[in-house]
Amino acid sequence: MNTKRRDFLKILGIGAAAGLAGCSTTPPDTLTEYVEAPEGMVRGHALWFRTTCRECPAGCGIQARVREGRVHKVEGNPEHPVNGGGLCARGQAAVQGLYNPDRLRSPLVRDGGQLKPATWDEALTRVKAALGNGRATIVTGAETGAIAELASKLGDHVQFEPLAYEALREANRLSFGTPAIPVLRFAEARTILLFGTDAIETFVSPAGYARGIAEARRAGGRMIYAGSRMSLTAARADQWIATRPGAEGALAMALLRHVLALGGSKQLTPDQRTKLAGWSRPYTAPQAEKLARELLAGPSIAVTGGAASCDENAVFTAVAVNLLNCATGAINTTVRFDRSSALEKTVPRAGLAAALEKNRTLIVAGANPAYHGFAASLRKAQFLVALASWPDETTELAHVVLPVHTPLESWGDYEPWTGVRSLMQPAMRPVFDTRDMGDILIELANAQPRTMREYLAARWKDDFTAALERGGAWSDVPDRKVTLSLAALPNPAPPETPTFRLETYPSLAHFDGRGANRPWLQELPDPVVQAVWDSWIEISPSDAARLGVATGDRVRVQSKHSALETSAYVYPGVEPGAVAMPLGQGHTAFGRYATGVGVNTAALLDHTGERWAGEAVEIRLVRKGGNLVLVPGHNYQEQREIARARVVPGPVEKRQERSISIYPERKYTGHRWAMVVDLDACNGCSACIAACYAENNVPVVGREEVRRGRHMSWIRVERFFGPGSEVAQPFRIDHVLTMCQQCDNAPCEPVCPAYAAVHNAEGLNAQVYNRCVGTRYCSNNCPYKQRRFNWYQAEFPEPLDWQLNPDVTARSKGVMEKCTFCIQRIVAGKDRARREGRAVADGDIVPACAQSCPTRAIIFGDLNDKNSRVARAVRDPRRYSILEELNTRPAVTYLERERRI
């Protein structure tokens, strides 16, 4: 090698330059366009498909937002009669079922005791062979329409819903001769009396009921809750009557006595009147007369549900409530029997147990009986076929597992109430090699036509095309009146004196357990307890003191059926002698997010019985300290008036003027975005939180990170046990929804050294992610603690990342983020208006939280438009801002809650 030094340097220099020239800032990327573009599709524009939510039996109408062939978000269908546009957190999380990384990706067949991947042909051949051995039993959840039809063609169809309100149906059979679940018209009532009913959480149709109750309250209605536990619904009531557990029926009878004494007998014959007066004579309760007067004053509604409808006194309680409703005239007006619920076709648990005992070919489609205690029965089946989208406790036991589409990929129909026929259509192509449950049933039953789509088209006939667009077809039903035909009052159960009475309640996030594999729902703080990724047992402070138990301690809960260990939560909202536990956790095989999280409370109960509350349990402290993770927050308001409520009628507190500033007032010449949260309508149901996760690519951080205070949710439901520094007497809970307050004098902005937190011309505190260097000064300076820092790179395991909203940056590690008022929707709304050559109209821009709210508690709009709803709402005398004294001048205004007495 004969190279001079000078030549060597030349080569080096040229090489380096050439090397740099070869680098580009981004690696070459391939642009893939459709071979044949779907009709009407414009890249960058969303398409909406209307379908039906199947996350619970309520059957809300939803519409899925699809961008470039992928579903990113679901929202309530505003035209649907069940939910009218709102959608609960579980409905929002349907997309995480669709993109769940643990989904079944191919058929599985059992080979030598192990489930092994197989081809569809192989799996279906085995199933068909098994079906040749005689009549099969097919177990599904509540189904109507095509699936129910096909299932009964295939074999004996058994519909099983863990929560199907058997006692309620039995009481209605006794009272009115119809084992029905009535239609509850909350909106028409002015006095709403709930006996343990978790109407806004999980009862029958929570999104619809929440909407009805909010309407009733807007019209001046009052809600009273009688029960032994302060549930979220109880917290929302104007009055909580703490009853002894199991004594709700006695209260209803006492009310009946006073209603009759006051002359209320609207729907009773003189005979019945005398009979009822005799039955109700032994019952008394404080305040009963006042309540009775109220019930008679206007349209009223009394409902039983929750713990009261599944303890040993459940039928008695439900009958008593029926009698009360007859006396006040609620039956056939606010409580109607003209539409029957899809839940009425379900079998009781004993019926399922009997069906499973038949020991023959068993097809379980879209249900999980193994989790609900029937694993031993399933093991006895001659041949078990599971049709499921996710691996669960039932697929674990199956001989053949057929992976089916999730509801967002499926064809189908569902009729939650007679006359409300809701259609399901696929919003996108299947993510994996799965098949439509309908198609599989058609093939197995050898039905015609051969595909589910054609089958539905033939079933729906002329309505089909219109229903694809509207989401279904709804019709009026003939008026059907029921009359009281009760012969004898069922006897209340003899009083038991257990050490503790266990009340279980379906979890707001996971319902009966089917939502547990959605990470958003696992990380959704329970709005009452504020715990995430766990189960717990609520113990009253006096019992806790007696047992020496504090919040977070591990306790052993022993019933006559089983025992388990869980964390204690000392809760002033549960009556002494009662303990409460949520259902839905403790899965043993339900994917990475649910397996091993919490305990399966249902194990403490008799799985073939309907008794979900009132089970006798013993509790023992196992060890102090545990790992219950509560989201950071404070239980008491410390007189800071964060969640305000005022007693009505009562004096109206005069608002102080806003503090003055030495700086010139900010002027907004264009729009001035603002939000109003009506705390009188907000239920704290957390639907907005799930909607925000979906819309804004908010990462799920997991249990350990939440423990460190790194919960990423942009919205929080803060709940307080008292306005001062101790538990309020009488006990009450105040909720407040908090998000970035978009302050005018924002403390976050001046402290940012990188100008990443800047004020924009429309009043928003912009957070520019690409400028943010992660000093976290802004978060330290935020008095509302509404900024979230990305301590780690967020993980969205494939295909969960398919859900990410393409209009929003997925933030990276080291970046601060927070609520933006859904800036992508604001920009899109302005662009749309510009394209259409008009000004932005009020209601054009709806942030995800406001959109999902079943009660329309969140109002968003332009303050500079004096006629906008938000501008009118901020003039409401109930208005206040949180921490007003700091002079931050937030753009989020709250309307005080009213407690009507």
């Binding site: 040229i14 642009l31 366009e33 414009v42 890249r43 924009n760 011309a761 933006t820 920009v827």
Partner: protein, 185 residues
Amino acid sequence: MKNPKPGTDGTFSPLFARLHQRHGCGKRPVCPRFWAVVVLLVSAATAFAQQQPIAFSHAIHAGQYKIDCQFCHSGARRSAVSGIPSLQFCMGCHKTVSPFKPEIARVRAYWDRKEPIPWTRVVQEPDFVFFNHSPHILKGIRCQECHGPVETMTEVRLDHSLNMNTCTGCHRQRGASIDCYTCHR
């Protein structure tokens, strides 16, 4: 970069030797001038060769035949992304227009296989930038102002850098919004 393959007798292969003779000094086994040429050629090839799967020429379509940009990039006035036409759209014309030219035959081959053409991206914005074509088009801003004289390009390339300064410069000049949230969200 590959080293020239030496011959067995210690000399270069005939082709290489010829090139060396012509472009280098031809005397020394390795001369810097020759090396420089090799390095430049290789790197220029990697840096500038577009390697689009089809030799699509904007100069013919937009330049010679004066087809409007938005005839194919129809998303531009309606949506954030201008989009590239679907293969079906290409075939809409090329079923009859010059169907036998070799490049068109290759397009047809993709169409017959129902396989999308894997175009190489030329303009890429960072993922924290949300540029929206439609307001710009509706304001009457010509495509060329950002994309350069594409109608003269046989193979499309980015004429000048599209950085934030380009955007804000123009926005300032025209009195358009320079709010961060306009593009970053």
